[in-house]
Amino acid sequence: MRRFGDFDTCEDAVQEALLAAAQQWPAEGVPASPRGWLITVASRRRIELLRSETARRRREEAIRYGPEPAPVSAVDDSLTLLLLLCAHPALSTGSQVALTLRAVGGLSTAEIARALLVPEATVGQRISRAKQKIRDCGATFSLPPPAEREARLIAVRQVLYLIFNEGYTASSGARLHRAELSAEAIRLARLLRAQLPEDGEVAGLLALMLLTDARRPARALPDGSLVPLAAQDRSRWDAAAIAEGVALITATLASAPIGPYQLQAAIAAVHDEATRAQDTDWPQILQLYGMLHALSPGPMVQLNRIVALAEVHGPVLALAQLDLAEDDPALRGHHRVAAVRAHLLEKRGDLPAARAAYLTAARLTLSVPEQRYLLARAAAVGSPDGGPASAP
């Protein structure tokens, strides 16, 4: 997310990706999707693009008639100002998270320490150091200059998403305290959205959090072990949160310039709309990952796209793309590559190789629940009958 700085270029890229996607769909053929909102959106975009002929033409017009007012210009709410200050670029992300929780979330230093699993003194030091750095930079409790605003808002969204993930990815230990972090991130995103209702990415982030958090009741067993998406008891998903998230992302995709959080929310929505794992609309997920990759390329997006590709076109093609993806230095030797490779090899029926890859992934991961899951898969594919397809 940190990588994209030029919004115009991103905007063009996603428009082109959307256009390409829309053109790939046959004129009459609507993919078997429980909701056609993605198609609706892409078609709408295509019509817009055709009307204005090219994105370049639109840029030329923008220059002639002057830039559109930045959506952030209306910011005057003190909470938003505080969020912008906490996401100051001079701070490390760890400090941004601690300061946001303290200054905006109102959590005590002790609460933050429990949630982040570090000593209270460490958190206290991070917060006072962050405040000092902000003072040293001469930053004030006011709106950053217009040129910096969007970059700062990107950082604000990232901090909220980090806080959410800190809570969401916790599966045991201080689970309760950490779950509060996700709730806090959702609360702050709601407040920010109330101040910036026109910001499609704030709405997308909120929708993404709602649609992800909806799966929380089914994602881990009481002993802390992870349940993969395909094996989750979907009746335990939070239907109200899914309904709210789907409504929000549907409305946002239809009106705002599209961004990475909206696309990730759309992917989460497609998963959440499948009553059974086998009903998942993988072609649509693959399209969405293609767009996300065009808009905001990153190693994890690439890996997830390859997983979706395997569901649509089979493991052989996906394995070939995984070999290419591994040339990215960010992915070389990464445990996720080994985990995806194991999954694809298992799908292809090459169980000894799958077992070796599961064991490699288990050795490389830093997550205990993931390690447990990967070792269980290695044992399952190593057994004579291959074990159940996706049980943890």
């Binding site: 760890g94 916790a170 349940v227 993969p228 629940p369």
Partner: protein, 123 residues
């Protein structure tokens, strides 16, 4: 991300220690104190300790519900843990930066190990 910086004592490090002047040994100790302080100020230090001589160690096992202790087999042990820093920082690169400031790194080497955690994304 948490990382453990491990400082081992072995024949090589003992040989280095033997050659240091008193002044250098004082400097070495001060280096650890300064590093601890710097880590605290940066908000990264979770814990750090130096360990007592291994001759003071006790080896503990439980068999049939009974706790059995013994003195260590230190005669054959050529290397033992002498101290550690447990830090919480952004990534491995930052952890390596901190490890490079451990005074021992200038003479022998220190080890940086990522710590397992209980977090995890669903697959």
């Amino acid at each position: 991300m948490k990382y453990l910086i491990l400082i081992q004592s072995n024949e090589r490090s003992l040989a280095v220690w033997e050659q240091l002047t008193d002044e250098q040994r004082m400097e070495f100790g001060r280096g650890h104190l300064l590093l601890t302080d710097e880590m605290d100020k940066a908000g990264v230090r979770v814990a750090s300790e130096g360990l007592a001589d291994p001759s003071l160690a006790r080896w503990v096992s439980v068999r049939d519900g009974r706790t059995v202790t013994s003195d260590g087999p230190f005669a054959e042990v050529k290397e033992h843990l002498a101290g550690f820093y447990l830090i919480d920082c952004e990534d491995l690169d930052e952890a390596i930066g901190w490890a490079a400031k451990v005074p021992d790194a200038a003479f022998t080497e220190v080890e940086v190990r990522p710590v397992l955690d209980m977090s995890g994304w669903e697959f």
